[in-house]
Symmetry: C2
Subunit: 116 residues, 2 copies
DNA sequence: TACTACACATAAGATACTAAGGTATTAGAC
DNA sequence: GTCTAATACCTTAGTATCTTATGTGTAGTA
């Protein structure tokens, strides 16, 4: 990669986690690797951000967790999207799109008159 | 507008301010209105976020300020982009684009294998 | 046997928001 | 004349979410 990984914009981690779990149940470490991989190593999820985020989402009822043994023979806490989590995923993807178009408009807009 | 204004994602205000000032000098209140306007009222800048942000940017040497009388006859602190600010604007627009493509990749990516 | 990858967790610190309040001036409505 | 809305600035307290650093333990491999 040309650049080092970017730092996360606060508020964008949740949707990444929800989206990853939208593909099926997974555990923290794997979620983090998947995000990093799917963004071409542009986004790196710090563990200090990841695990608290998973707890938050679970407390909100968006995820459910259960300890399981992974194929590699280790204990891992596997998270699954709840129905509410799936709704939240949709909502957050939509919100992100809206945010991006708003930003795009601002960053491309040309002033009609003076800014003052 | 169909929705109420969205809350800012932390870290995106600076580039909005820099971009606005890229069109020419302006003062805080006008910058805030311009951003709100150019995003079609999607983004609303709270004053408690705006004024500290302007100070931050000035302390970093990206902006310069001077009190002036506006055409409406009021005193206003008019900010101007410095050369460093103009470089920073370019850099932050680029960084934002990179972030958006990373997010897009993650939110559209399809897993090749299992996520676990 | 040492090191890397896997897998979880937490604490301290930084930062940048929101919400809520405050000051003061100008213009227009009533 | 007085009230209100819009303009223009500022600050504080509270909150959320990140980074950095540290800690635990296991499994595989060189």
């Amino acid at each position: 990669m040309a650049h080092p990984p970017m730092t996360l914009l606060k508020g964008t981690l949740d949707v990444l986690i929800l989206k990853t779990l939208g593909w099926g149940p997974s555990h923290g470490y794997a979620i983090s690797r998947w995000i990093q991989q799917s963004t071409g190593d542009e986004l790196q999820i710090e563990e200090g951000a990841l695990y608290p985020a998973l707890r938050r989402l679970e407390e909100k009822g968006l995820l459910e967790s259960a300890w399981q043994t992974t194929p590699t023979g280790r204990e891992a806490k596997v998270y699954t999207l709840t129905a509410a989590g799936r709704r939240q995923l949709k909502a957050e993807v939509t919100a992100w799109s809206r945010y991006v178009s708003a930003m795009t408009r601002a960053l491309e807009a040309r002033p009609t008159g003076a800014i003052a």
